[in-house]
């Protein structure tokens, strides 16, 4: 049993202290890095740079929201990065081919959801390990994207595509609106619907959910479908930012998304965690990368640093007893 279980009245005494103690490693990491970067580089704490961080974090956040739900069910979705790439490529090709934008977006969403259905069905109904299933889907999505484009970027997109990234509404860039909307949607689904309740229950005690007579497997598939759908939405922003669709642009994004989820305090076991931590986690990854950029650390080394930070943060959480 955890320490909190032994002294409930002690913990109850100070709700604020308890919250502080339960903050994921990402919160401390984010605070620490922000202070250090503000001191080290004058550029960091400027509106321009912070907006830039928020923009860079938007794609990652949206993917990480879906990843959070998957990990809460004790699953993982390695395919979200390549699926994002594939969705972008398909949307790009259709737009270049003169399709109406809503239809092109719709097809991309269907592709994201289709990969989710494939992953979720194999996991929930066939009982395969999520790691294996989504690793397979990773390869499939990447291959299809490469075949469709012969490995080239899709360029010559219509002008309005850039609005997904450059557009500003009420002084706030569109990607930040999109991220906020995806967050709100995920939050409401997670805490105010059966879908969210069952997402937690699948991770917490899948057998109990099945014995309660709920269609647990069906909801488990929906979780992967939702994650795939969010990856498709993220692909619109990504495509707009690059003003082109690259078949491999998403590869590696699943790595950052998993990092954001873990840093945000969501555990791989027993469905512990939540969506708010993921926002903090995504910001931490974003600020970390931004800081490394400002300090002139090469992209190649950044991946190693992010990896190191994950291990550090998770081992710290373990020491504090958060992951037990």
């Amino acid at each position: 049993m955890s320490a909190t279980g032994a002294h409930p009245q002690l913990v109850k005494r100070s709700r604020a202290l308890q919250l502080l103690a339960e903050l994921p490693g990402a919160a401390y990491l984010l605070a620490f890095m922000s202070v250090m970067l503000t001191l080290a580089t004058p550029e960091f704490f400027s509106v321009a740079n912070l907006t830039n961080v928020a923009l860079q974090v938007s794609v990652l956040s949206i993917v990480a929201f879906g990843m959070t739900l998957v990990i809460l069910t004790e699953g993982i979705d390695l395919s979200l990065g390549p699926v994002l790439g594939l969705c972008g490529v398909v949307m790009g090709l259709l737009l270049v081919g003169g399709w109406p934008p809503l239809l092109a977006i719709g097809v991309a969403l269907v592709i994201g959801a289709a990969f989710g259905t494939l992953n979720g069905t194999l996991v929930a109904y066939v009982g395969m390990p999520p790691f294996i299933v989504t690793l397979g889907a990773f390869g499939i999505a990447m291959s299809i994207a490469m075949v469709l484009t012969q490995g080239n970027s899709v360029t010559g997109l219509p002008e309005y595509v850039r609005l997904f990234n450059d557009g500003v509404l009420l002084g706030i860039p569109v990607p930040i609106w999109a991220t906020a909307a995806c967050f709100a949607l995920t939050y409401v689904l997670l805490y105010h619907t059966k879908f969210g309740r069952y997402t937690f229950a699948i991770g917490g005690n899948r057998q109990a959910l099945i014995l309660s007579g709920s269609p647990a497997r069906f909801y488990q598939v929906l979780v992967y479908v939702y994650a795939g759908g969010l990856a498709a939405i993220a692909s619109f922003i990504m495509t707009a930012r690059m003003n082109a669709a690259h078949p491999t642009i998403g590869v590696g994004l699943e790595f950052d998304a998993i990092a954001a989820v873990i840093l945000g305090g969501t555990s791989f076991e027993k469905g512990r965690g939540g969506i708010i931590g993921t926002v903090v986690g995504a910001l931490a990854v974003g600020v970390l990368r931004n800081g490394l950029n400002l300090m002139g650390v090469s992209t190649e080394w950044q991946v190693a640093v992010v990896g190191l930070v994950i291990i550090l943060a998770v081992s710290l959480d373990s020491l504090r007893g958060l992951n037990q």
């Binding site: 955890s2 619907t193 059966k194 309740r197 937690f200 109990a208 014995l211 469905g271």
Partner: protein
């Protein structure tokens, strides 16, 4: 049958085979409203299989189940729940990462009305959970606390309360106090008594004969999938039940016929 009251649940000739193993062979079991029925026997006696058949978790090979005098078909947990048969499984009942109210309503969440139907009615579930716990005299500090941080006894109480909420008529308890301390065990049996006084039928598996004699009205003994016999607690002794468990043979019944018929 020569009983004064009709059983709420009557299981007749229940058989179940797992591959080459005969888990249950032609077992009869009656459960009465307002009574606690204990199920005892060695390991592999078939106790768990029998309750899983009644709760719909395991399909039976043959035999019939009567509920309230009518023959019913229980093929899935949903069917049993529709009849008001609720099961509290050992260690399987709760999701640790959800709070008390969420666990009580797991799988049967209340939703808002009208256009807001897709959304959970969190407030009503919390209120109902609080009312339920106080009706059953269960003391839980906070309804919003995650179950993970609670003691074994509190968890078991929540699991039992959950089974009672949905107009249960039969509550099945699989080793309800196996992992509990003395004080917590006492509280769980207080709860069992509370349910019985509300007219519920309780079917309980237990390895502890002291508990069985103290808290149940009837005892049914199984051995290697066969029914050895059923005795009223008031009319039997610990020695007799022990003999039945070990030998698998029932003592000859007294001629008076006050005891239940044994197959």
């Amino acid at each position: 049958m020569d009983q004064q009251t009709q059983p709420l649940v009557a299981m007749r000739g229940i058989s179940k085979r797992y591959g080459g193993v005969q888990a249950l062979a032609d077992v009869n079991l009656d459960i009465y409203a307002g009574e606690v029925q204990a199920l005892v026997g060695d390991n592999a006696a078939g106790k768990s299989t029998l309750i899983k058949i009644l709760s719909g978790a395991v399909p039976r090979d043959s035999g019939a189940i009567h509920f309230d005098g009518r023959e019913v078909d229980i093929g899935a947990p949903r069917d049993a729940k529709a009849l008001g048969i609720e099961t509290v499984y050992q260690d399987l009942a709760l999701a640790d990462n959800l709070d008390v109210a969420s666990n009580i309503f797991l799988g049967r969440e209340l939703t808002l009305n009208g256009p807001l139907r897709p959304f959970l009615d969190l407030r009503r579930m919390e209120e109902d959970a609080r009312t339920l716990l106080s009706r059953l005299k269960i003391n839980i500090p906070s309804i919003r606390q995650k179950v993970r941080s609670m003691s074994g006894g509190q968890r078991q109480s929540i699991a039992i309360a959950r089974s009672v909420y949905f107009n249960a008529r039969v509550v099945i308890l699989d080793e309800p106090t196996a992992a509990l301390g003395v004080e917590e065990t006492r509280k769980v049996y207080d709860l069992v008594r509370e349910m019985r006084s509300h007219g519920l039928a309780v079917l309980m598996i237990s390895h502890n004969l002291n508990h069985v004699f103290e808290h149940s009205d009837r005892i049914t003994v199984l051995k290697t999938g066969r029914l050895v016999g059923t005795r009223r607690v008031a009319e039997t002794s610990r020695d007799e039940i022990l003999r039945m468990i070990v030998s698998g043979e029932a003592d000859p019944l007294p001629a008076a016929g006050q005891r239940e018929a044994v197959s």
